[in-house]
């Protein structure tokens, strides 16, 4: 069979297939009303949810530190824990601002009416920003977990010292307490790395193949150009 035969087969097939799937104007109107399953729009929604989550988290921390915990712990909490918590809030707010700027820059150029190379580059850039947001959110979650864990451990030692009428420094250097602290740190590290690898695996499973496919297509375009 020759290539011209393929053309005639295509002509017969495509005209028949198009008339079989023909839609009326009403059906097209209906389709336009439906929510699109577009990947970038889904990312857009996820990013908006992520940003709202970050704002709520930052507000919660600020509220917790300034109003709820001010009477209870600010007097007793050492300055390094206060600084750590402050740095945590600054990190969340900084991430939020950085994120909005990166995302705005990445989506500025995105349109399916551009040429293929630009479309591919834009989507890859958006996905990279999305990946950064994902890891940043994960980092923030793990940071909060660590800060809470360390603060909790410190407060636990302090309460125990008060209960026993002992000195905090003396109690924290006692061998059973050191053992407890070491076990606590090991558990914390295991939980943090476990969560990190679990989330990373989930992200790669969802989007890894897609990113790979887009990059391969872009490479195919660059091959000859």
């Amino acid at each position: 069979m020759e290539l011209k035969d393929l053309k005639s087969a295509w002509d017969k097939f495509s005209s028949n297939d198009a008339s079989k799937h023909q839609l009326g104007e009403e059906a097209i109107y209906e389709m336009l009303k439906k929510r699109t399953r577009n990947f970038i729009e889904r990312i857009d929604r996820n990013i908006r949810i992520g940003v709202v989550f970050l704002i709520l988290l930052a507000l919660f921390f600020a509220f917790d530190d300034v109003l709820l915990s001010s009477d209870m712990s600010y007097q007793a909490t050492p300055i390094w824990i206060q600084l750590m918590e402050g740095a945590g809030i600054l990190f969340i707010v900084g991430s939020f601002v950085y994120f909005l700027i990166s995302y705005r820059l990445a989506t500025k150029d995105y349109s399916h009416s551009n040429d293929l190379s630009r479309v591919l580059t834009s989507i890859i850039r958006i996905l990279n920003v999305y990946r950064k947001l994902f890891y940043m959110a994960l980092g923030i979650l793990l940071l909060i977990l660590s800060i809470s864990f360390i603060s909790g451990m410190f407060m636990g030692v302090e309460l125990k010292a008060i209960e026993l009428g002992a000195n905090v420094d003396a109690l924290s250097t006692a061998p059973p307490m050191i053992r407890m602290i070491v076990i606590g740190i090991v558990v914390l590290l295991l939980v943090i790395s476990g969560l990190f690898f679990l989330f990373r695996w989930g992200f790669r499973k969802l989007y890894g193949n897609y990113i790979f496919k887009l990059k391969a297509t872009l490479m195919e375009l660059d091959e000859i150009e």
């Binding site: 087969a9 495509s14 297939d17 799937h21 097209i28 389709m31 399953r37 399916h112 009416s113 040429d115």
Partner: protein, 160 residues
């Protein structure tokens, strides 16, 4: 603007159906891609400039959407089985020779990459290299080189 858009899409919807038939293996995928292309066309419609041909612009948006479409990693049943099943539905109205040709054409196209599929579709639609380059946004030289490779691939496939 929506009314104008729907009318013009309705008249040219054959382009979307052709793109869907080249890129999709199942009716479900086809419906999703059709909707996706329609949404992208509607979104890009305000930026359409009348100095370009509407069909050229439509091909461009449809092909870009098809090439970059995202499919979740769902468990894929035996692909050949699906293709044969869908295909038999599509070709039962043709004579034996045409049926064989269409079957061969589908099988040959399935083995091509996303970019190759777009070039072969435009070639089958009798578009000149110049127009293929305009639609895809790649150089004519690239189209020529790629088309020669595709022809070799198709010939090799058809001689097997």
């Amino acid at each position: 603007m929506e009314k104008e858009f729907v009318q013009i899409i309705s008249q040219n919807q054959g382009i979307i159906h052709k793109v869907c038939s080249i890129y999709c293996d199942s009716e479900e995928d086809r419906r999703d891609l059709f909707q996706e292309i329609l949404a992208q066309l509607w979104k890009s419609f305000p930026s359409f400039r009348s100095e370009a041909k509407f069909t050229t612009w439509m091909y461009r948006v449809a092909l870009n959407t098809a090439i970059t479409s995202f499919k979740k990693n769902k468990r894929q049943p035996d692909k050949t089985g699906i293709e044969v099943a869908n295909f038999q539905l599509a070709v039962e109205e043709y004579d034996h020779e045409t049926e064989e040709q269409i079957k061969l054409l589908h099988q040959a196209i399935t083995n091509l990459s996303g970019i190759e599929k777009s070039i072969v579709l435009l070639y089958l639609e009798n578009k000149k290299y110049e127009e293929i380059a305009e639609i895809t946004g790649i150089t004519q030289n690239y189209v020529r080189v790629k088309m020669n490779r595709i022809k070799k691939k198709l010939k090799k496939y058809m001689n097997h």
